[in-house]
Amino acid sequence: MKAVLRPWPVDFTGRPTVTVCINDRDERFAPCCGRHGGPEIVAALREAVACRGLNVDVQTIKCLGLCAKGPNLRIAPSGSLYNAMTVEDVPAVVDALDSDLKSAKA
């Protein structure tokens, strides 16, 4: 996993969104997240977020525009990006989210 972390907006008090690419397409021109674990990452994230009771919206999308770096995941409103994700990386992402949420409340 590679992460491009961006600062959490200081005035944000809403519900953050984690958007995971699940695009499944012909890979002759470019790889796609959907064939390299995207849907499994979504399932693992939803489960982890529910287990931790985090107020986070996990959404899917069919392209984040970074196909060569996938599977990709984006967090709003910070704009942080996680590339080359695997299911095993999900706990680390959820930890980071948890920490960001706690900092935002503090």
Partner: protein, 243 residues
């Protein structure tokens, strides 16, 4: 046409040319316009956003033809290949996006407004947007290839990711738009970030004569004028929504 094609007495040095291009863009980036910031703040009306969606489709749908016009005039194999890659990005689902970018724009236009695809397609496009489209084709047909590429890469795309991010965050936070329904904006936030650097590099490497540099500066002024008209037109919100 409103910009004046100036004559440069001699070619500008690389750094000077870069500084001059950036100076002309400053204050006229997409994110400098109220429309973009109104959406981010949740203060734009749904009519304004719906109107933006429909007009953005009519802007986006000609991009493949603009690109293929430039491609057909390009003698440099390496640049032609780069244009072809961008054309595949724009016009297909094979490299970037789950559909051609015009289809993604159409998806946003129809889903946000509730209009059908035919209604969006036949929507009466205002003259200012027709002029913008005509300008894009004129540049593609008449300007040196590298200037034509710089027209979109520098004058518009180099500052598009910030605009897309502001719009996307506003749509999600204030208007309840799911990310699947706004892929048209999201796909450009991080995907286009390196376009700016590439566009500037190509122009700085290839646009080196006084005559071509003057044309490049003219394009930046003229395209930004059209973009200004685009954003001001969106603010009018001249659309009747179905939802």
């Amino acid at each position: 046409m409103v910009a004046v094609l100036e004559k440069l007495p001699k070619p500008l040095a690389r750094e000077e040319f870069l500084k001059e291009m950036v100076r002309r863009i400053d204050g006229k980036r997409h994110s400098d316009y109220p429309m973009v910031n109104l959406i981010r703040a949740g203060k734009a009306t749904r009519q304004q956003i719906g109107y933006l969606g429909v007009l953005f489709y009519h802007f986006t749908k000609v991009t493949p033809q603009v690109l293929s016009t430039i491609h057909s005039r390009c003698d440099d194999r390496r640049i032609r290949r780069r244009i072809m890659d961008t054309l595949i990005d724009e016009d297909t689902e094979l490299r970037c996006g789950s559909k051609g970018h015009d289809e993604l724009a159409l998806d946003f236009g129809t889903r946000f407004t509730g209009l059908s695809e035919d209604e969006v397609e036949s929507f009466p496009v205002p003259q200012s947007i027709k002029d913008m489209v005509a300008y894009r084709f004129k540049v593609a047909r008449e300007m040196p290839v590298t200037v034509a590429l710089g027209n979109s890469g520098i004058a518009s795309e180099s500052h598009a990711p910030q605009m897309c991010r502001l719009i996307s965050d506003g749509l999600r936070e204030h208007y309840g738009v799911n990310d699947e329904d706004q892929e048209s904006w999201i796909v450009h936030i991080d995907g286009d970030e390196d376009h700016s650097e590439t566009a500037f590099k190509v122009v700085l490497d290839k646009v080196t004569t006084a005559e071509d540099q003057a044309k490049m500066l003219w394009c930046i002024d003229e395209y930004l004028f059209h973009w200004g008209n685009f954003w001001k037109e969106c603010e009018k919100g001249r659309i009747i929504l179905r939802k």
